[in-house]
Subunit: 511 residues, 2 copies
Amino acid sequence: MNTNYGRYKALMQKIADVNYAAGVLAWDQETYMPPRGADKRAQQLSTLAGMAHEMATSPELGELLNQLAADNTLSEKEKRNVKQSLKDYNDRKKYSTEFVERTSRLVSEAFQAWQQAKKENRFPLFAPKLEKLVELKREECRLLGYEGGHPYDALLNQYEPGAKTKDIDVLFADVKAKLVDFVKEIAAAPQNNDSFMHLTYEKQKQWDFGIELLKQMGYDFEAGRQDISTHPFSTSFSSQDVRVTTRVSENNLNEMIWSCIHEGGHALYEQGLNIDDYGLPTGEAISLGIHESQSRLWENNVGRSLPYWRCNFPLLKKYFPVPLSAVDTEDFYKAMNVVRPSLIRTGADELTYHFHIMIRFEIEKALIEGSLQVKDLPDYWNRKYKEYLGIDVPDDTRGVLQDIHWSHGSFGYFPTYSLGSFYAAQFFAKASAQIPGLAGHVENGNLAPLLKWLRENIHQYGKFYSAEELCIKVTGEKLNFGYFMDYARNKYSRLYNLPSGRQELKKETVS
Amino acid sequence: MNTNYGRYKALMQKIADVNYAAGVLAWDQETYMPPRGADKRAQQLSTLAGMAHEMATSPELGELLNQLAADNTLSEKEKRNVKQSLKDYNDRKKYSTEFVERTSRLVSEAFQAWQQAKKENRFPLFAPKLEKLVELKREECRLLGYEGGHPYDALLNQYEPGAKTKDIDVLFADVKAKLVDFVKEIAAAPQNNDSFMHLTYEKQKQWDFGIELLKQMGYDFEAGRQDISTHPFSTSFSSQDVRVTTRVSENNLNEMIWSCIHEGGHALYEQGLNIDDYGLPTGEAISLGIHESQSRLWENNVGRSLPYWRCNFPLLKKYFPVPLSAVDTEDFYKAMNVVRPSLIRTGADELTYHFHIMIRFEIEKALIEGSLQVKDLPDYWNRKYKEYLGIDVPDDTRGVLQDIHWSHGSFGYFPTYSLGSFYAAQFFAKASAQIPGLAGHVENGNLAPLLKWLRENIHQYGKFYSAEELCIKVTGEKLNFGYFMDYARNKYSRLYNLPSGRQELKKETVS
């Protein structure tokens, strides 16, 4: 190996060591840390973050990267790593220590204020901090630059490198044009019954069932584990130690099932990254959108499908013969796919979910542009919920205060959730075309061919390709919302017996 | 606060953040980490250790400490912190990066070799690595210096600052002179029955009982937690997050009980350190010997006493009415205090335990002096076990290969185990004299007065005092083996109905 490249790799691995160490501390914080440990843990995390930042912006690394960028002897993969690392380096250098510290302080204050405001349903408690955060984010856009595009591009790019506000605008215009009407059509049809999802389901049995689902997906328990946390998440300390968490509610079967499969999907991506590229871009996930595509593909395209439950519902029924005695696979499939406009994003069905995201995207864009003031936010929010979802928001706690993101200063994050679902639909369509008899495999509980396809087409590359490049390479075209819409029409027309879907229903029963 | 002192404190806290972060990773490694995570975890730990070492030997810290050492405006506590930190700084500076890296590599190889050798009962697999380790340790003694004393002093001091080989020689001569004969006297008496300790005890119930014991001791579960690990340990990430682990064996009640109380004792010390002194010497335990005094005091002086089980045996019997149906408190007390020479240190009773330590101490000293060669080690070991414990060592796995310490390069560590027990006896004698009705409190399950005494007399000071200073301050004299011997004679003469103890028996029954 090129000596400089070797030095670069060693430096990057050290940075990764520190970042992953912070990851272990954060995982512990959410799973096992005793309450009084919180104060010092925050300090320990902040010290590690500061050290990682220092290493990642060191002159040593900068010089090395600039030398390597001019080095023609590197392999294609080495070149891509260097190019990506140099971009990251230059981006990070745009932040002064003063700015980083100011952000860290403000976020910490804003998070406290948000918690209080949400608890007491008093938006004004959070508003002054949010105003400052918006100001800071506008400053951050100027620091980072946005090359003649929308200032919000700078924020988007932190989570979805290469994404443009104008493209997301086009995308959501499409969503609005097609999905809003389709959901209205569903709303006019008789609702399916999902009341049995809320009977009593013993927690330990749910847990055991969830573990079986993860194993079936191919999640490697030798390189990961599942624990309980308030908010489910997945996290990684190398592709050899990728963890998931879940929550289990005795009176809501949905909680455990969807968090298990969703986080499992994220984790399979991380477990599929190349361990030899630990610390390098090619050993990292591409973007939040592509990450979310993996969780959504497993959660929605696989986990909310009929073949999946033809295999797994009988198993679930063994665990819970009493509450599910009068339920059959088809009833269960219908129940888990009930479309019902609701207040809370995280509990939304896979269609109305995107209205939640659209609202947040519009708000973030307007705040960053300066066309919306923080004080007007609750009114704006509530109007949008009426407009897109047709529901009245009873209070800010279940409205504008519901999500943690803004209190963390995470602007530009929300759109990646929708991007993920849309990528998932497009990838899954391609996988279905390329894997002979995929639905049959799923029905037999054989998910290995799908995981193999994802490993080969997506996971193994890390950041070798950008999201757009990968999408074109895998599916032959850029992100196309049409795949999601086709998937949605096909599935929900059958589920709700809509006129537009009769044709598809027939097709599916034959296949 | 003095500006320089403030800067010093901030630097020390950063170093502590990194060290405690490594502590979290190590804890996770022993409790929850999936097997395939091991490789990268080792690398992450090594990176954090390297960074902490770099910070702790930085010129910035050195200059600051030297300035502060000449600063007369500091308070007494500040002065002691600076003095201790400067000593630590100068000690650390004696290690070159080359030496640290060489050690780290060798330890890693030696550990692998030891594991293999122990598994296959083949000492020669470990011997070459151990030879190199001994050579390295001799080099380390020269690096560190030992001021005209024994080279082994340099190693001892890493675990027990201020300890001298010649003092430990005197101490163990005393142990040999008094304890060997006393144990022989016990061996001649009829043995007590402890077979019921090895019936079947359901693990979950043992766990629940252990949690009750920890709560009764005053271990704060808001600032700590217990988990399962192969080898029980306690660890701390600040005095607000101090964790213990235990192991539970279905057929050996001793495992859980003694690890729970022992690690609980360690943890109470850490929980009693001043959080405002986080990262400073006064926020750290004095030495391994004093640390061990806290675990041994709870384990032996409290936990293996009759009053303790007068309170807790009825509770234990509620958990296990069947296997303990024919057992009463006195039987149980006798069973847990059976003295029986044995091969394995960690399972030894509280008297013969010290023979195991003496043997290791003699060996380490001889290896470091060069008067014993590694190749002669198994013979030497086996001869000593015959001489001090009267037993034949059937194989090296249960002999010279049993302990992990040497494979880790931890020479000088073992003696602190005995020091701990002897300090414990001395402290407990003083506590008993100063806390009115202590035995009665223990019998009522009220351990708060004892914890309060330990907090006030020992825990709160951290490293403000050295081990010797503390011992004198608390008990009025230096470490005196006589306290342990008195405790042992009193207790075991009664337990084994020895002639020499009849008098004490009478006294105890009256009191």
